[in-house]
């Protein structure tokens, strides 16, 4: 009897349990499961320590330079920072949004409203402490990179990307992509053979996260280091300058947050215990009959 780690993902491990309506397959290899949960922890803390760093200068610019006298495209600020009841605002590309309590102004260490970009509950550490935020961020960044390299190396060597993430020719036909979008809108869940593989929207999303968003986080992060910039100034030229790199780092982080929200909602739609269980044990139950 092969063990979990020797079975290829997608293979059937046990006989159907409840009559013919349920089948358990082996879906996630041990490397995928471990790197997934390390990512959950590390990316959450990277995000929160990143917001702490952002709070030190809650303004974003395009180009090589940008400071107080230059025009930001995004800014969090207090309209009346010295009053008893300051008003927090988010300014993006000319528009202004009142965001008191969340962005621009929120409860500080004493509990009183004070000027700060993101609120205490979103930053690591909670109190304003750029030095500790940076220490967390760069410590976690090393773990993130090591974890990512293990995932990429093993995924490339054992065929995970080719087998499970690369869309098939049939999946990429406009008609099947359209059908998949309609299925998603109707919350229709796959069953049988179809449920044994990722659908085309899943595959494209995972590929975008793994091969575009996460590497872009690393690259834009590296180019904010003046040491690395002297080694590879062309990388910063490619990104449009240091302040553009900081902006892209922030936008890409937002896109990752958006992905995580959609991903978690989909987990709940698809069956939270089965989905989370499969990412812990590797075993995933599929329905062999289709329900409308």
């Amino acid at each position: 009897m092969p063990t979990d780690s020797t079975l290829p993902a997608g293979s059937t491990r046990s006989a159907p349990r409840r009559g013919a309506s349920r089948e358990v397959i082996y879906r996630h290899s041990v490397v995928v499961r471990v790197t997934h949960w390390v990512s959950v922890l590390v990316i959450s803390l990277l995000l929160m320590s990143g917001l702490q760093i952002f709070n030190a200068h809650p303004r974003l610019y395009w180009g090589a330079y940008g400071a107080d006298a230059d025009k930001p495209w995004l800014e969090m600020a207090a309209l009346n920072p010295d009053s008893d009841r300051p008003t927090g605002v988010l300014r993006v590309a000319g528009g202004e949004l009142r965001t008191t309590g969340v962005l621009g102004v929120s409860a500080g260490e004493s509990g009183a409203f004070t000027e700060r970009g993101f609120p205490r509950w979103a930053t690591l550490p909670g109190a304003r402490d750029l030095a500790t935020g940076r220490r967390w961020h760069f410590f976690l960044a090393w773990i993130f990179v090591a974890n990512g390299l293990v995932y990429l190396l093993v995924g490339a060597l054992n065929g995970h990307f080719r087998r499970d993430l690369a869309p098939t020719g049939a999946q990429l036909r406009p008609r099947s992509v359209l059908a998949e979008i309609i299925d998603h809108i109707r919350f229709r869940r796959p069953a049988g053979e179809e449920a044994k593989h990722y659908n085309v929207l899943q595959k494209l999303t995972y590929l975008a996260v793994v091969f575009v968003l996460l590497p872009l986080m690393v690259l834009t992060g590296l180019t904010m280091s003046p040491g690395i910039d002297s080694l590879a100034p062309w990388l910063l030229d490619l990104l449009g300058g240091r302040q553009s790199a900081r902006s892209i780092h922030f936008i890409t982080a937002d896109l990752i947050v958006l992905f995580v929200i959609v991903h978690v909602v989909e987990v709940f739609i698809a069956g939270v215990f089965n989905e989370i269980g499969s990412m812990i044990t590797g075993s995933y139950a599929i329905r062999t009959e289709r329900h409308p």
């Binding site: 107080d68 690591l124 040491g227 240091r242």
Partner: protein, 259 residues
Amino acid sequence: MIAIQPSRRRLLAAGAASLAGLALAGCDRLSASPSFQQFIGSGEDLTFDAQRFLLAGQPLAREFPASMISPVFKSNGTSMPGSDEYQALADKGFAAWRLIVEGLVARPSSFSLDDLHRMPARTQITRHDCVEGWSAIGRWSGVPLGYLLRLVGISPRARYVVFRCADDLENSLDGSGLYYESIDLFDAFHPQTILAHSMNGRPLPIPNGAPLRLRVERQLGYKHAKYVMRIQLVDRMDRLQGGKGGYWEDRGYEWYAGI
């Protein structure tokens, strides 16, 4: 198929929320522990080693065309040192100011601003990246630090160059808040490491560090000490002020600011 009951869903949500709350409180408590700070600080040691390996060829920081100079070069930290001595020097255009070079050197010396202007100068248009996240581009002219160090002859025991400054961010009475910074010889002899007496073609303005500031282009802004009064060559930093090699370093920031 497992259907989730509403009560179960609520329980899950409450469980997740309280777990997240616990984790947050835990992270804050960890952040407050010195030994944990030291543990996560090991990431910085790795960064230092990695960058020293990668930058062994001493590459130059990007230099920009004059068209890219920031319209306003932000002044951060102190914009006017408060001491009477500094005021008196500033009132006379720093004519009486002298840069003292001492410590582990063969010939302890002092130089006037005119002396420094007569030395070979390097001019570079570079980007200043603050640890807070903003950047500004300026044109700097000044004496390469390596030239000055060769002039005074450094002892083989010297490992760090310490910059003692006139600004006291805390207006401390005992001088414990006086700004200082340090770099090692690897960065001190980099061709772009200069003691700048000019910015954007004019004498260095007071808000930007007059009469002399350090430019150490491959590190963040807080390393670029302003209002430099004295340069000391030392073999260790633990006996200086807070012992971490700089004003911000004594307040939790990393000594190596190449990231």
